[in-house]
C-alpha cells in the first residue's frame, strides 16, 4: 500500500466512523418518536399514555447499542396495531378485513382495466379549505371523515360513528357518500349491515377513483393526507 492509498483508507474509515456515529445518534433520537407513534395507535388516551410510558421505560432499561433500542422500538411499532386491536371491543378479524380489502382491490383493478384509455376528468379532493361549500356542512357534522378505500379501516371504525366519503371531480361532478349509523341499540346483525354498507361505499368510491384515471400512487398519497386530517380532527375534538 502506498502513502496515497493509506491516507485514502484512513480518511474513508474516519468518514464511515463519523457516519455510523451519527446514525447511532439518530437511532437514539428516533426510538422515542417511534414509541410515540406506536402508542398513538391505542384506542383511548389512557392506553396511549400507559403504553408510551411503559415502552419508554422498557427501552430505557435495555443494555446495549442505541441501535438495539431502535430495533426494539420498531418491533413495538409494528405490533402496536395488534396491541391496540386487542383493546378494541368493536373489531373484526384482521384476516377477514384483509380478505375483504383484497376483494375490493380486485373490483378496483377490474374497473381500472375497463376504463383504461378513456378520456375522463381527474378527481380533485376537497381538503384544507377546498371542500365544496355544499359538502362542508355535511362533512363537519361527521366526527369521522374517511377518505379511505381501505375496507379494513372502515369496518373497524365503530359502527355508531357516521362515516363520510367525499369526492370532487375537477369537471364539476361532486358526490359524497355518507354512511350513517343506525339509531338505537345495535344488534350484531345491524352492525354487520352497517359494515357491509360501508364496504360497498368504499368499493364504489375506489372503483370511481380508478375509473376517473387517478393513479394508484396519487390515491395512496391522498389517503395519507386524509388519514392525517382524521387524526387531526380526532385530536382537535
Amino acid at each position: 500500500m502506498n502513502t496515497g492509498e493509506f491516507w485514502a483508507s484512513a480518511v474513508a474509515a474516519a468518514v464511515v466512523a463519523v457516519v455510523l456515529g451519527e446514525l447511532i445518534d439518530v437511532g437514539a433520537w428516533l426510538a422515542p418518536r417511534i414509541i410515540q407513534r406506536a402508542s398513538a395507535r391505542m384506542p383511548t388516551p389512557e392506553l396511549q399514555a400507559r403504553y408510551r410510558e411503559e415502552w419508554l421505560a422498557e427501552l430505557d432499561q435495555l443494555d446495549g447499542l442505541k441501535l438495539v433500542k431502535l430495533a426494539k422500538a420498531v418491533t413495538l411499532w409494528v405490533s402496536s396495531w395488534r396491541t391496540g386491536n386487542a383493546w378494541r371491543t368493536d373489531r373484526v378479524s384482521i384476516g377477514l378485513a384483509r380478505s375483504i380489502r383484497g376483494f375490493m382491490s380486485g373490483i378496483s383493478y377490474s374497473a381500472r382495466l375497463a376504463w383504461q384509455g378513456k378520456d375522463l376528468p381527474s378527481p380533485r379532493f376537497g381538503w384544507n379549505g377546498q371542500v365544496p361549500p355544499e359538502m362542508e356542512e355535511q362533512l363537519n357534522a361527521s366526527p369521522f371523515l374517511v377518505i379511505f378505500p381501505l375496507a379494513l379501516m372502515l369496518i373497524t371504525v365503530p359502527t355508531n360513528v357516521p362515516v363520510s366519503v367525499a369526492i370532487e371531480v375537477s369537471g364539476g361532478q361532486k358526490f359524497a357518500v355518507n354512511v350513517k349509523p343506525e339509531a338505537g341499540g345495535q344488534s350484531r346483525c345491524a352492525k354487520w349491515l352497517v359494515r357491509i354498507g360501508r364496504m360497498l361505499a368504499v368499493g364504489f368510491y375506489d372503483a370511481y377513483l380508478i375509473r376517473t384515471g387517478t393513479r394508484l400512487r396519487e390515491i395512496r398519497s391522498l389517503h395519507m393526507t386524509a388519514y392525517r386530517a382524521i387524526k387531526f380532527r380526532e385530536n382537535g375534538n
Binding site: 411503559e54 421505560a57 422498557e58 432499561q61 435495555l62 413495538l76
Partner: protein
C-alpha cells in the same frame, strides 16, 4: 372481561412463564426474554390476557434505590386467571400433543 384468548404457541409460552411462579410480578421485556418470544409479539398477547381478566397490570412503586429509572409496568396473573390459564394451557397441550405421546408406559 372478554372472551378467552386464542391459545397460540406464543400465548402458551407467556402463560407458562407466568404460571411458573404465579405470584411473581414481571415486566414486559423480562417476560418476553423468559418466554423466548419477540417483544413485538408479547404486548398484543398481554393485552388480550388483560382483556380476558387473566392478567392484571400495575405501575411499580418507585423505591429509593430506583431513583432515576423510569417506573415499570408489572404483570401478574389474577387468582382466577391462574386457575383458568392452567386449565387452558393443559387443554391446549393435550390438543397439540399427538395421542401416541400423551402417555408413555413406564414413564411418569
Amino acid at each position: 372481561m372478554s372472551s378467552p384468548p386464542r391459545m397460540t404457541l406464543a400465548t402458551m409460552a407467556v402463560l407458562r412463564v407466568l404460571l411458573d411462579d404465579p405470584t411473581a410480578h414481571r415486566y414486559g421485556f423480562d417476560l418476553a426474554r423468559d418466554a423466548g418470544i419477540a417483544t413485538g409479539s408479547l404486548y398484543p398477547i398481554l393485552a388480550r390476557l388483560e382483556q380476558a381478566g387473566w392478567v392484571d397490570s400495575y405501575w411499580e412503586d418507585q423505591q429509593p434505590g430506583h431513583e432515576g429509572r423510569p417506573r415499570r409496568r408489572y404483570y401478574v396473573l389474577t387468582e382466577s386467571g391462574a386457575v383458568v390459564a392452567r386449565e387452558a394451557l393443559s387443554d391446549a397441550l393435550r390438543r397439540t400433543t399427538p395421542r401416541t405421546l400423551r402417555t408413555i408406559p413406564g414413564i411418569t
